[in-house]
Subunit: 175 residues, 2 copies
DNA sequence: CAAATGCCCTACGCCTGCGTAGGGTCACGG
DNA sequence: CCGTGACCCTACGCAGGCGTAGGGCATTTG
């Protein structure tokens, strides 16, 4: 881990590790430097200051989320199968909950989260409509369930997974 | 606001205000003292140290949540009406999302949240069963939706409300 | 009224984090 | 082989939070 030159992205990755493991309060230059076996001299070489680092992390996350959505949209599959996969896709997002918690203390983070929430909800709404479910409130409820599953502590990962599939089945049953 | 003697509960209330408005990082003795127009001398009179203050806040919150649940259980009403009310009851809980975010940085908070989540989910499961819905995964999904609604930024409060009622209607429609 | 107790203020030493200044080291191209 | 630029280290001053010592005011109690 030591005696290696670092890049911006190394710091950003370390930032997300710290955010996930210890919350937004761990996004400090000196603390991150310790985990990277270096000093904050490196940090202040790559980033102007701590807020600049934060915005770099944020745009990185937002970009990644949007890319995922675009890749999702461009799948040529049946609408129902796409829906199933999209609903399950939130399981891997261990950072999504961390970013959401971060959003409570930083306005620009909150704005970014609201932005991609809006996009994902819109996509889910049209996806459901394509499955024959026209009620947008149901899309909202399903999206809320996805968010809830990922913010809930891990009370059995399988339970949450079954919960979402059961919910999708229920929604698709009444058409 | 000034020249008034403070109690433990005044500090705890200020703590929750700070937690909701600025996140867990705002739970500091000196910062809270400023908002209460006093000094940290008062804080260290009422509490041994900052962690002790945190546990006081936590037990206060846990107690309140459990009391709410007990009051909920003891209502003599039809099962369906009780379900409707219970599902809507999460709207007023503006602190619930803040505590959930706090739980990500403090293990004991996480344990407390997991505890009351388990209790509420169990209650919701039996409530649904009493309404004729036996699938526990649906209870889990509905609870996740409640949690998701309160952690989502306020993209129209009415939208979220309609989402949950629509979801409950859907669940009750298929029996 | 006097004394004791509850509650708060001030001032201090310590630690941690911020951002900067200035210098060091290593990898290159010439 | 030398310089140049990218990258990192060290040391500093500043700010803010922690917890404590010791004293001050006010309210209750005898």
């Amino acid at each position: 881990m030591k005696n290696k030159r670092l890049s911006k992205d190394d710091w950003i990755a370390a930032g997300f590790h710290a955010l996930i493991d210890h919350g937004p309060a761990a996004l400090k230059a000196e603390a991150l430097a310790r985990t990277l076996d270096t000093t904050k001299g490196s940090f202040y070489w790559h980033f102007k200051d701590v807020p600049a680092f934060h915005t770099h992390m944020l745009t990185h996350w937002e970009q990644q989320a949007l890319n995922g959505l675009v890749a999702e949209i461009e799948t040529k599959d049946t609408a129902v199968a796409t829906l199933q996969r999209f609903v399950q896709s939130s399981k891997g997002n261990t950072n999504s909950a961390a970013v959401r918690a971060w959003a409570r203390t930083d306005t620009s983070v909150a704005k970014a989260v609201a932005h991609i929430d809006k996009a994902r909800l819109k996509y889910l709404t049209t996806l459901l409509k394509r499955c024959g479910v026209g009620n947008p409130d149901l899309a909202c409820a399903l999206y809320a369930a996805m968010v809830g599953i990922e913010t809930l502590p891990d009370n059995d990962e399988t339970l949450g997974k079954n919960a979402l599939t059961s919910l999708v089945d229920l929604i698709l049953a009444l058409r």
